[in-house]
Symmetry: C2
Subunit: 505 residues, 2 copies
């Protein structure tokens, strides 16, 4: 690099690091709000968050940041190594996202996002979709406008998907989702009709919260989560937050009538947490080290939750621990019985409560609806009926109310369109990564049975966590697994697993 | 106000509110760091705090803020009501403090503050004052320079006092401290020689931490601390923090061999917390609502710790609770015995462990030394000997090491000169306020005995907490008590109390 380029790049780094550090402060505030903050502080905290958001916005749209990027853009790309090139590329992308949208639209979206949330809560409570419909209509209009400013080369829905899942488009997702549909709908039907169903009765009972907490911490530690660089607490909805790879904070919630829900939330969030703790050691305040996309992040939580912890080998390893921890409930339960019980499949109305097998259809339904809303083939007013009809076709159940149907998710109330596909992309990535791991570490299931998770974590650290944002999801999957995203792995996995559990020929 | 003045004032308010809100974020980060943060996050957190501090400094020195103040300064002071006038006055004071000092000196002080802290820790550990002396010398030089920039009309030491205790000078403090000395030294001597000494043996034993915590929360609640707008947690050193009057966070620490230490820390910090929670309802993000000075803040914590909780009436009210909570230790102990035990007086080397009666002499010693360091009559190199000689004269004990002497306090390692007097000013204010309260609420001790703290809290809320920064400490004391700070109240209180406890004629 010449001196000028050097200066422009180091100026860029300085500005990006400041933005990242202020972002870390913001994350800590959000964690505090969900976990620790006294209820009476809601209003003052909102003002503090708004003040900090204002500063971060100011820094993110700083014309001097734009000048740095302009100067760097003039250079021959080969001037930069891949680490530097990634920082420049990601910074440009964020800068464009922040600056290309007129202030008026940004403000209107922020305002509707805040107002829309309360409109949605009330509409859901009162089961009145028509009260929420105007918000939804306006958000779609605005998000189309937004798309034209930010990603003018993409269709409006693709632009919204790209916002969460960089480089991924409808053209890639649609055929994959069609395949999933054609395979999973009949599989779910067979499961429903199967004569053998898992016994889940021993998962009911009373499970003291302090024992659940100790168990969760133990398993999270076993998985390799570092409590020197993280915490585990309680919040209304489990999440993984914290302000830095050295300060990763997972949460769960407890009901004393169910230890599986809380424990698997811990495992899921630990999966996210290991991604964050496993980020590359260099450039931790720079975009290059950041987790790639929502879908890849979800692939890591689902990898641990499903590929590892819903595996029979995992049940085998922890059976004794469960029996010692909850002697009144788990004595005399076999490993197979536990394995079947935690993989119980049952079509239901609510996405967040859905099991591994039915979950994709909840996502596909939403993807198809969003696609239609953006290309005009679906009308907002007809949504409740369309939703319920699709639920019947895909899962064989019709929601009795819109509260249990089209009004169940928070996403649209904040204008988050294009977010849902990431959940199922994540599940497919997880499965494909696991298959590759089995090839490279043939003893994986033996390791799991022995509770030896270090080789698994190390593999994920190397292949995924430490790669940061260097590649697109497509490039990463190709690099790690030797092929593009291939739904066959996911389909075969589900077929084999659920045919065995439900004893379907 | 004219339109222009109106605009300048509302611009000022907007800027001050932003600074205050970002300051609230900073306080929350500091609390998090002391209470919650995983140890591995120290380095990343330091960088985040530095980024936020940079933003706050930028906002605090914003030339546009200076322009607002210049515009407002041109107006007839009668244009503004006392609320507005206070915001302008305090903003000007802070702006001057932030902008009048050359950047080079600010940076040098920040650097020495950071480095000096570690130099001090090491010197204290190794009992080597000579290693710390150069830092101390340099800090005094810099703080003299600093004083000339910020408060050119004050002597250097007065400027440093004014930084913590606005409007208070050596001329006010010195004669008061002389009086204290002349009265307390012989009183402490009589206490030492007294035949009767409190029995403290029942305060030794094992006090389960969970019971201590529940007791602390109960008494804090009884005092009127709102846990909807606050929290109580554990930290290495007890403090009162949090980011807003609606988010006040007190801490304590526990040793299972001593419940009094932890409980009285809770009471002390609750006193600070009630001040914060009791701030005026208007302008909570503006200087006008802020707690007045260090000394007045300390007057509130000491009011509750000493005037209320070390009162015999308090012992009478909680005796049964203590006995139920710690039946193995407290059964059969009389109220008088408890009262005497918690007021036990014993000259010792360490200020922070000192009792009510000997504490002022620790402060006076430091005040005299600081005064001498600033006027040149005391040399840094001669400090250890001077310190130890004064300890003998004032308290009759000679520290065997500098670790237990001149190196014990953190303050000087960060350049905090002029801070110590506030502790004893606070104790005297507390006593004078209490005397006034007894006049206005003659049933105060009856209330305490009944555990009815609401009238006491309400009185403090009205007279002190809700007054914010409207007045100087001198004006406030005059307004509340009808006279200036008068050490007689403190002296008479101590004489009466300790002569009775130690049965001195």
């Amino acid at each position: 690099m010449t001196t000028n380029v050097n200066t422009a790049y180091s100026d860029l780094v300085e500005k990006l690091e400041e933005i990242s550090r202020l972002g870390g402060v913001m994350s800590t505030l959000h964690w505090d709000q969900e976990v620790i903050m006294p209820s009476g502080a809601a209003e003052s905290r909102a003002k503090q968050i708004s003040a900090l958001a204002g500063v971060i916005h100011e820094r993110s749209t700083d014309p001097q940041l734009g000048e740095c990027l302009d100067a760097l853009k003039k250079e021959d790309p080969s001037t930069f190594n891949k680490f530097e090139a990634c920082n420049i590329r990601e910074a440009q992308r964020e800068y464009d996202k922040e600056t290309k949208v007129p202030k008026k639209l940004v403000q209107e979206m922020a305002e509707l996002g805040s107002r829309g949330h309360f409109v949605w809560i009330k509409a859901r409570e009162e089961n009145k979709f028509s009260d929420f419909a105007p918000t939804l209509k306006r958000f779609i209009e605005m998000k189309k406008e937004w798309a034209a400013y930010v990603f003018p080369d993409l269709t409006p829905y693709d632009a919204n998907i790209d916002n969460y899942e960089r480089g991924t488009t409808m053209a890639e997702i649609a055929p994959i989702f069609e395949r999933l549909k054609s395979e999973l709908i009949p599989l779910i039907q067979s499961v429903k009709e199967a004569k053998h169903h898992p016994d889940t009765s021993f998962l009911e009972g009373t499970f003291p919260v302090d024992k659940q907490e100790a168990l969760g911490k133990q398993i999270s530690t076993d998985m390799g989560f570092s409590f020197d660089q993280g915490r585990m607490d309680v919040s209304v909805h489990p999440f993984c937050g914290g302000g830095h790879p050295t300060d990763v904070r997972i949460t769960t919630r407890y009901r004393d009538s169910d230890f599986i829900e809380s424990l698997y939330a811990v495992i899921h969030e630990t999966g996210h947490g290991l991604y964050e703790q496993g980020r590359m050691k260099e450039g931790r305040d720079l975009p290059v080290s950041e987790a790639l996309t929502m879908g890849i992040h979800e692939s890591q939580s689902l990898f641990w939750e499903r590929m590892i912890a819903q595996n029979k080998a995992f049940c085998a390893h922890y059976m004794e621990t469960f029996q010692t921890t909850f002697p009144n409930n788990m004595q005399g339960v076999s490993v197979s019985a536990l394995y079947e019980a935690i993989n119980n499949c049952k079509p239901s109305f609510i996405r967040v409560e859905a099991d591994e097998l039915t979950y994709p259809l909840h996502v596909i339904l939403r993807f198809e609806i969003e696609k239609g809303l953006f290309d005009g083939s679906v009308s907002v007013d007809g949504l409740p009926e369309l939703w319920n009809d699709k639920m019947v076709t895909y899962l064989g159940v019709r929601p009795p109310t819109d509260t249990l149907g089209v009004l169940q998710d928070v996403h649209w109330s904040g204008g988050a369109f294009g977010y849902f596909p990431s959940y199922t992309l994540g599940a497919m990535y997880a499965c494909q990564f696991y298959k590759t791991m089995l090839g490279e570490l043939p003893d994986t299931e033996k390791y799991i049975e022995e509770g030896k998770f270090a080789p698994i974590k190390t593999w994920l650290n190397e292949k995924i966590h430490s790669q940061g944002s260097l590649y697109s999801p497509q490039e990463l999957v190709q690099k790690v697994t030797g092929e593009p995203l291939n739904p066959d792995h996911f389909i075969n996995y589900l077929k084999t697993k659920y045919r065995a559990i439900y004893q379907i020929n």
